[in-house]
Symmetry: C2
Subunit: 478 residues, 2 copies
Amino acid sequence: MKLIDKITPIEEDFSKWFVDVVKNGNLIDYGPLKGTLIFKPNSYGIWENIQKHFNKIIKKINCENVYLPLLIPQNLIAREKKHIDGFAPEIATITKVGDKKLSEDIYIRPTSEVLFAQLFKSEINSYNDLPKIYNQWANVVRWEKTTNPFLRNSEFLWQEGHTSHSTEQEALEFSKKIIQMYKDFYKNYLALDVIVGRKTENEKFPGAEITWTIEAMMKDGKSLQAATSHYLGQNFSKMFDVSFKNKDNKFEHVFQTSWGLSTRSIGAIIMGHGDNRGIVIPPKVASIQVDLIEIMANKDQRVSEVSEKIRSLLENNNITVRVDKTNKSVGFKVSQSEIEGVPIRIEIGPRDLENNKVLIVRRDNIEKEYVEIDNILEKVSFLLEDIHNNLYKQSKERMQKNIVYTNSYEEFKTLIEKNKFVLVPILKDDVKLEEKIKEETFATARCIPWEITPPKSNDICILTGKETSYFVIFAKSY
Amino acid sequence: MKLIDKITPIEEDFSKWFVDVVKNGNLIDYGPLKGTLIFKPNSYGIWENIQKHFNKIIKKINCENVYLPLLIPQNLIAREKKHIDGFAPEIATITKVGDKKLSEDIYIRPTSEVLFAQLFKSEINSYNDLPKIYNQWANVVRWEKTTNPFLRNSEFLWQEGHTSHSTEQEALEFSKKIIQMYKDFYKNYLALDVIVGRKTENEKFPGAEITWTIEAMMKDGKSLQAATSHYLGQNFSKMFDVSFKNKDNKFEHVFQTSWGLSTRSIGAIIMGHGDNRGIVIPPKVASIQVDLIEIMANKDQRVSEVSEKIRSLLENNNITVRVDKTNKSVGFKVSQSEIEGVPIRIEIGPRDLENNKVLIVRRDNIEKEYVEIDNILEKVSFLLEDIHNNLYKQSKERMQKNIVYTNSYEEFKTLIEKNKFVLVPILKDDVKLEEKIKEETFATARCIPWEITPPKSNDICILTGKETSYFVIFAKSY
């Protein structure tokens, strides 16, 4: 473990702050290739907890986990034209093994729609087999020009859900149910408020009919696409002939969805909750929830006795605890605990033990409190819940404060400059208008929101002045 | 779900039997590229349970999970010559992204020693940071000429442990502790007996000083390398300059180990426990432990009431249950349960309910028993344990019966022909002798066993007639 470096203040330079937090929080090392990451225990632990909680949730909707190949032959993925056109420039391509050139190029999966089509084809015969609800946890490779830890990497980890249904309506409803599930997941486990909506035609997934999205607001005001759910219609099922015999004994193509949540979510945690001390990890996904810090344990054996007692009490109540027994200084251990975003630290020292107390410090607001040893479990349990709620409250307040409405392009530009989420009236599905806005302001269309309503149901398009009832949130984004 | 095909009898053609079991047990589909697999819910569920149990075990030895990149630049892996020489012919190589040719070839990891060296280098400064014990769950790619589901695939899933220690002795002891841990894991979770030993120089891991192995015996008598643990010495730490400041303030290179267990273990389960009805899954890693089969539920509502009662009782006691509510026939559901290797099925029908009973059938020996509904939890809990023990007992007996000793090459050839594990005296580390045996009998050196002792401590080499105190187990293998 290196000595802890200084973190650039968040107010001074957000990007630098982010890189400092990421490097110092036992979160990552950079891999040997540009854009690749080594997930260290503190970030991989978050991902493992996300997996654990998410698996429980999707089991309730009868989702089965599977694992499909990393490698896809070129001809297979090329069958769905929009799909391949969307991904082609980013696809890592294998052309040889050892010294031998392959007869056909092989792609590393950027996503797995075409492979799941194969699986569905072999699994589905009749309506009795539907719906089929699958999920896989996997790594995918997309060669990004500009990379940023967690946010945009050549390789990232994700879950990708893929489903087949017998009717359009069922599939469509399912794709909406999933985006709502993602919203709840962000709220209940990552303590982040998000807005839900539909992507514009220009921004939707290559191969989808509709893309639903949740967008989170980072501490600098920028948007981060936090998860997406796609209604695929019959695009893939027709191309790969995935059909079923309906109740009238006739063959129909299935209706499909796909949906994903990735290790970007760790980036959302960092930029949504972090502060000048480092990352702040929401308790429900923290791999270490409590750091026990022993003070002068070598001089007073009661210290390690009490520490051991607290450790075993907390662990027996499913709270994860770390006790660093090395001879590093107390100051170092305290800094490390803060920079690594451990929700609670407990300092155990001889002086407080005289009063049968220990010092508890919560990471979110650094509030300190002396607590009776007998009350420790109750207190820690309360704080884990309270830290979660406090983090969520801050995230929600930030969102509410920073979503604004305008129908003036001049005002729009000023608001985007200030990193607001700006809801505007605009002509429906006109790609050129979105492109003009992006060129002039760097803002992109984030979504057509579900739950945020403009002051009136009709207004004039901010760019053309023509009347429209179509409203889109624009923001700068990661 | 396709109709269930016939399974070739195990006595008739073992390889055909294996392929039939694999295809029919909801275990795999073949991927679009030769040698790639789709892990369907029944096999991926085993892997998830292996992960769950294994993670608990390694946590006790302070192992931390991390995740390292899939992609390795050519120049990095090439630094350790033996390592690259061992893997080069099997390495999938990326030479372009989209249409753009890369300036340097990029390899897909066949294993991650060189990447872990990078991580250790950045994490280790002093003796205070040691030992460092990491593990990752990952996919790796090795382009095999001959492929076989689970046993030999272009891509497989595994855990790879990597550790750094301050002394040779500690690292060596650790590598031995791990192979013992694997042995216990196979016994306690997969119900398979294995033998432990050391690989010959010819068979050890490219880059290791010593490779320890556990070898399982399949039902046809062939050996399957079930997991390995390598003592790497300072081979990688010197090449990548991974050093630490010792207590005398001097720099030393760390001593390392690496160790892995892969999805081959699912192949070991199939070929170690399977029968003419299909796979038999050991209860502790079965994703479904109990199938509830309702008979005439549409005619008698008590059936679904009792089924629901049993389901919730078992689930509340952490037993995983499946209830297939489709209108498929009872016969189909029974066959499916057997072919998928579900440890226990419970048939609930109106006639038995009259007597307050249900029928329980255990998958390992197909014994049937009528059980009072009130005793169901006790009975199921007992059976899950008993099935595990019975499977292990059979595996152990098979092993004991089929390990034989000889110092005659003629007898050796006959024994190998009969698919025995044959312990023989042989001159130490003579690659040519091993090659001759392989050419003439297809048997390979499996290991120098730890716990199996020859009749005398010196004997004559089966090939040269010279005296030797070196004894190796040979067998045909997967």
